[in-house]
Subunit: 155 residues, 2 copies
């Protein structure tokens, strides 16, 4: 285990890397994202204080995700061994719960429903990142998010 401090914009991991670590966020805000063949960015997860951030690419293949800092951050970095007591089962379970909800919402909810759910669940993050990143997390374009927010207002 190693404690590290990083600045806003610093990159911790790049898509294709092999030495994937697990980060425990003490202060600040991390983001993981991928870039597809068309060069488009898709945010996979935000990790504010008290969350863990890691890439879980299967089979020790080159990882899929970039990880960078959206704010100056202090982190604990360790190798991915799950038995480590500090990466406790509560955080793993919470992570799986978030992913389950996310998959279900991507499959069954409209853009505006996903947005409302996000704002309700993560009001702090909404304050801390530009709206285009929230759109990216929700799986839509910034233009679409702008539009659906406006449309809802008309009702």
């Amino acid at each position: 285990m190693k404690e590290i401090s990083i600045k806003k914009g610093d990159i911790l991991q790049r898509k294709g890397d092999l030495n994937s670590k697990i980060y425990n966020v003490k202060t600040g805000l991390l983001r993981s994202y991928t870039i597809d063949e068309q060069g488009k960015e898709h945010i996979y997860m935000f990790a504010p204080e008290d969350w863990i951030m890691s890439d879980n690419t299967l089979d020790n293949e080159p990882c899929d995700l970039f990880i960078d800092a959206l704010e100056d951050s202090e982190l604990e970095m360790r190798n991915k061994d799950f038995t480590d007591a500090d990466v406790n089962t509560d955080k793993i379970l919470r992570r799986m719960g978030v992913l389950q909800k996310r998959v279900i919402m991507l499959m069954s909810s409209s853009a505006i429903e996903r947005y409302d759910h996000f704002v309700e669940r993560y009001p702090q993050i909404v304050q801390r990142v530009p709206q285009k990143m929230i759109a990216s997390y929700l799986g839509i374009t910034p233009e679409a998010l702008s539009r659906v927010k406006k449309e809802r207002f008309r009702k």
Copy 2:
């Protein structure tokens, strides 16, 4: 831990239940799915031999998923305590890897790309379930899957 045998069609868990268990599939095939407000079914996961099946709804809330058997199956059923040696970290990591890939593909790939990926990754499952269930897993309608398969063929 308890060993149970169930028949095709048997339901192990319903949306809204509280006593969520974790199942280790020894033989057979399970499926988890949700039903949205419009009554539409969305498959969350398949679990063939050697996979685990569980609901990871957050905060001990009523669960989101139905779980049923697509084939006669033999299972090990246990409570959700992660420290149990038999629900090992390999399976947890594999599960998180699958979810990560799933989220990324839902956000960045077209229907036909998701289908091709599924067929490549799970050829056995393709043989064992109707195509409309694969469509449901991919987040599209059976009609759309039928169409995109045909369209690809035209090229």
